[in-house]
């Protein structure tokens, strides 16, 4: 699996993603935001960080980078695109995903481990997760409060496009377990076609026991499996 990891000025999780893709046996390559072509790759990942300092709005300026045209084209042809944290914000700003990420309702940066439910395990990013599996992984953001209008939310729910939800230790999505005020406790969503996913939690930070959790591993392995399988066909 050849993965293009896009580095924007201000990206700071690009190297973490690189290590993580290597760990699951993929073949990561950095792309600079000024590149206009992705080259021949099987997947694209937009890392976390503060592209352009998150000035204006988180992820907004990054969408003007030359590489984003290539990312849109890649996604348009059905190529898998994963955006994490700042990457999720970019995907929304680029209209590859619906909705927006507002400032956390606490108005404070929030860095902690959260519990997540897997809401849909029949996508290329989640097929290795059992439906009842509860995940633990870190979040670290100031603008992760997912917002979409009622109509969009209803559509996301109806079409099974909510991927992860913040839950409490008992597995319920409650206000108390919602770290940022996201609508319907949404932590991640996918597009209609099922090839572009964005999420605020950091699966790449939950891939080794020594880091406290390995619950992010299956996400990357799912994608790897999918790509290897589609190559065999």
């Amino acid at each position: 699996m050849k993965v293009a990891i896009i580095t924007f000025p201000g990206s700071n999780c690009d190297y973490d993603l690189y290590k993580c893709v290597q760990l699951v046996g993929g073949d990561p390559e950095f792309r600079w935001h000024r590149d206009s072509s992705l080259g021949k790759v099987d997947a694209v990942m937009l890392p976390g960080g503060f592209s352009y300092g998150d000035y204006l709005r988180a992820g907004a300026i990054a969408t003007m980078s030359p590489i984003m045209e290539a990312v849109k084209e890649f996604a348009g042809h059905g190529g898998p695109v994963l955006g994490i944290c700042n990457g999720f914000q970019m995907l929304c700003e680029a209209n590859l995903l619906p909705g927006a990420l507002l400032r956390n309702n606490s108005l404070l940066f929030c860095s902690k481990e959260v519990a997540l439910s897997v809401e849909n395990n029949s996508t290329i990013f989640t097929e290795l997760y059992k439906p009842e599996r509860k995940l633990r992984m870190p979040i670290a953001h100031a603008e992760g409060n997912y917002y979409a209008n009622e109509e969009t939310l209803a559509q996301l729910e109806e079409e099974g496009r909510v991927m992860f939800r913040y839950i409490d230790p008992q597995g319920k999505s409650t206000d108390g377990s919602n770290p940022n005020g996201s609508a319907n406790n949404i932590a991640g969503i996918i597009n209609t076609r099922g090839n572009v996913m964005g999420m605020m939690p950091h699966p790449e930070r939950a891939v080794e026991n020594i880091l406290g959790s390995v619950d992010g591993l299956d996400l990357f392995k799912s994608l790897l499996n999918h790509i290897s399988a589609s190559k065999k066909v």
């Binding site: 000025p9 201000g10 700071n12 999780c13 190297y15 973490d16 290590k19 993580c20 600079w32 976390g48 960080g49 503060f50 352009y52 300092g53 998150d54 000035y55 404070l108 940066f109 929030c110 860095s111 902690k112 870190p138 670290a140 100031a142 230790p169 950091h202 790449e204 930070r205 891939v207 080794e208 020594i210 880091l211």
Partner: protein
């Protein structure tokens, strides 16, 4: 020596102007002797900044020479941007702590943010990639609205800057006491990692090489910040707001990546942050260290505002700027690297062979001063020191009546668990990204933070410590306690203490009672660091921490780093399993002086602080490391504020989600109060599987460390029970947990009132 011409519009130099520049008449006389003429106005500004306490260490340098600075593993001691130690496998660890107290008292968010920015630059200009941040903070009482404003601003400033650059915060400390009401302490420490041979220094090597300014353009912000930091705060300090710089962490991130690329390119010979005193100090220090001179053409310095004078340009402290020495003929190559990172690089001068710090404007020379006169030539003083009789009286106060209390231990225990100095600090560190870079293996909330090294499976532990009350009551003993606590914190996670960076926060050194505290503190630190073999590789002195004449508690913060040989030895402070046994290393005593107990129960800061036996501390460190290396321990936790009862509570409550209870029996012939809450030094609490307890006891015995079994870890539903000979405590875990975890959030929710 070519005399500089005066510029039209320069004010006349008068004794008043000299005094406004923080220079004494005798210092001005010395300047005239060095120059063999009167200085120009621009030169006066340059001397004022370079001879300020902040840059010149004039009141501290002589004492600092008493600190141990050498060891076989020390690659770079004091005098550079940061200290460097060898950690094996061709790797080096770079680390330093620095204060931003004055700016944070005036503008907490930007003051703290730029403090983090400055310390990051000190690390990456050595050629190292920053891997962790720690912050050591002191504030007044959180019941005050102003203190809450300072506290939340500082925490957000520290957080936002580090989060944006993407460096995990792994720990530190925060302490609340009325003694810091108007003058908070904001110290930030940074650790960086590099290959040994990537080390680069802040030296202007190679006559003819180019001086290049990198990063943002120079504006009028922060002019004379170094001088500002060398004065007491007063009512007027609010009007100093323009002297506080504004940070841009995004540019910092670009500078970080670009600087590391520049250093690895081989096209540059030296690099330094334009920190305090901006272009002046970076150029003069780089010239001074190499023995060369530097020439700056002021017209070439990129500026943000029109009509800036040489004086303003030289003394501006605009953030996110670096001075780079580029090998002749390689300017284009380094510009290409910087352009990629959307940064600018402008040639502003060159390295010369005449040893002068020379500044030209058009055809006019506006300053020509020997570099060494600005750096090494800064006058140093040893001041008169005398202990304050008021503090002496406080120390000798009889506290024996506070040792007895027939009941109500639970109530006071809960008050202690909810006190700002003992309760959980989650409210803070949840605002810090602690997991970015995916190497944090012990995040904030433990005795020390730990970063694993992917390169060799070792790990680096770091901590900051200082109980300012102890130092206030007895500066020498209190400082030994700070060093000892830092070392205990490191061994508790399994690390061998290696070296120290210090941040000496004191009041006005011209006052004999302050200088006494400073001298005693340095002597105590020197003794402890020598015995623990943890040399001091650098740090920072922050004097004049006074508001309207009232000084802070003397606060010599110890930043200590250690190495864990293999990540399998990582040890955490939290109990792991019911049925494990709990052992206490070290002796309980009836000391109560300077304790959190008498502060919380009586509002008192008095008495003799707990005595430190450095040899016993060292034995204790070695015994705990030996237990950890035999893989005997399930947990280890240092005893500090709040004593044995609070340490047991911290180990039991853990991360909140999976708490345990304890069942403890203590046979000491001590009153319950000092037994439960006394802060006797040299103690560590450990837990282990039942069948390992004999080996633990034997290991302690082999090291000559008192050790005994005091109880057992039990399920949380069994509660928290401590039985002494003449008093007991019994509490349920949920009540304790609520007090411990909700204390700061509850206070901060009051934000909108008062």
């Amino acid at each position: 020596m070519l005399s500089p011409q005066s510029r039209p519009g320069d004010p006349q130099i008068t004794p008043e102007l000299v005094s406004e520049h923080g220079l004494s008449p005798s210092e001005y006389q010395k300047i005239r002797e060095i120059l063999t003429r009167e200085p120009s106005f621009t030169e006066l500004g340059v001397f004022s900044a370079m001879w300020s306490e902040h840059c010149g260490y004039k009141n501290s340098k002589r004492m600092l020479k008493l600190l141990p600075t050498k060891a076989p593993w020390v690659i770079q001691g004091p005098g550079e941007n940061a200290g460097v130690i060898d950690i094996g496998d061709d790797l080096a660890l770079v680390f330093k702590i620095e204060s931003h107290n004055h700016p944070s008292a005036v503008e907490p968010y930007q003051g703290a943010a730029t403090g983090v920015g400055g310390i990051l630059r000190d690390i990456f200009t050595m050629g190292a990639r920053p891997i962790a941040i720690l912050d050591s903070l002191r504030f007044g009482d959180l019941n005050s609205g102003r203190v809450r404003f300072l506290f939340s601003g500082v925490v957000q400033g520290v957080g936002d800057y580090g989060n944006c650059v993407g460096i995990p915060n792994i720990g530190g400390e925060v302490f609340f006491d009325k003694g810091y009401e108007d003058n908070p302490i904001v110290n930030a420490m940074c650790l960086g990692l590099m290959k040994r041979d990537s080390l680069i220094k802040g030296e202007a090597e190679g006559v003819g090489n180019l001086l290049v300014a990198v990063g943002t353009a120079t504006g009028r912000d922060g002019i004379h910040g170094a001088t500002f930091a060398s004065e007491e705060l007063s009512e007027d300090s609010q009007s100093s707001r323009p002297q506080v710089q504004v940070g841009d962490p995004f540019t910092e991130k670009l500078l970080l990546e670009a600087s590391l690329e520049l250093i690895h390119s081989g096209y540059i010979t030296g690099i330094q942050d334009m920190g305090a005193a901006g272009i002046t100090s970076s150029a003069a220090e780089m010239g001074g260290r190499s023995g060369n001179g530097v020439e700056i053409n002021i017209d070439l310095v990129p500026v943000r505002e029109p009509n800036m004078t040489p004086y303003e340009i030289l003394l501006s402290e605009s953030q996110e700027r670096m001075l780079v020495v580029v090998k002749t003929g390689h300017l284009k190559k380094i510009q290409d690297i910087l352009t990629k990172w959307e940064l600018k690089a402008d040639e502003i001068g060159c390295v010369t062979d005449d040893g002068l710090f020379r500044v030209t404007e058009g055809s006019r020379t506006v300053a020509a001063i020997p570099c060494l006169a600005l750096t090494e030539g800064c006058p140093t003083y040893e001041r008169e020191g005398k202990e304050s009789s008021e503090i002496k009286n406080l120390r000798s106060k009889d506290l024996s009546h506070l040792k007895t209390r027939s009941s109500g231990y639970e109530e006071i225990f809960l008050d202690l668990l909810g006190s700002g100095n003992i309760c959980s600090k989650r409210w803070l560190y949840q605002q810090y990204d602690t997991t970015v870079r995916t190497n944090t293996v012990i995040p904030p909330g433990a005795d020390a933070g730990v970063i694993r090294l992917r390169e060799n499976n070792k790990a680096i532990a770091a901590t900051t410590d200082c109980n300012g009350r102890y130092v206030y009551l007895n500066p020498r003993m209190g400082t030994k306690a700070a060093v000892a606590e830092a070392a205990r914190n490191l061994v508790s996670v399994g690390a061998l203490p290696m070296a120290v960076t210090n941040n000496l926060n004191f009041g006005n050194p011209l006052k004999p009672e302050i200088y006494y505290q400073f001298r005693e503190a340095v002597l105590g630190m020197s003794e402890a660091c020598k015995l623990f073999e943890t040399p001091v590789t650098g740090g920072n002195v922050s004097f004049y921490n006074e508001t309207s004449g009232t000084p802070i508690y003397p606060t010599p913060v110890i930043g200590m780093v250690g190495i864990i040989d293999d990540t399998k030895y990582l040890t955490r402070p939290f109990f792991q399993e019911s049925g494990d046994v709990i052992l206490l290393l070290g002796n309980n005593t009836d000391e109560l002086g300077g304790s959190e107990y008498i502060y919380v129960s009586e509002g008192l800061v008095a008495g003799e602080p707990p005595a430190v036996d450095l040899l016993a501390e060292r034995q204790l460190q070695h015994s705990v490391l030996s237990m950890i290396n035999q893989e005997l321990l399930q947990s280890a936790h240092d005893l500090s504020e709040g004593g044995l009862a609070c340490a047991l509570a911290e180990s039991a409550l853990g991360n909140k989600t999976d708490p345990f209870g304890v069942d403890i029996i203590l046979q000491d012939r001590l009153e319950p109060i000092p037994l439960f809450f006394g802060e006797a030094q040299g103690r560590i609490l450990v837990s282990c599987a039942k069948n390992s307890s004999n080996q633990v006891l034997q290991t302690a015995k082999d090291h000559g460390v008192p050790c005994r079994l005091i109880g057992e870890v039990v399920p949380a539903s069994n509660g928290f029970r401590i039985a002494g000979r003449t008093g007991n405590m019994e509490l349920d875990i949920e009540t304790m947990s609520n007090r411990f975890f909700n204390a700061i959030p509850t206070l901060m929710d009051k934000r909108k009132e008062s």
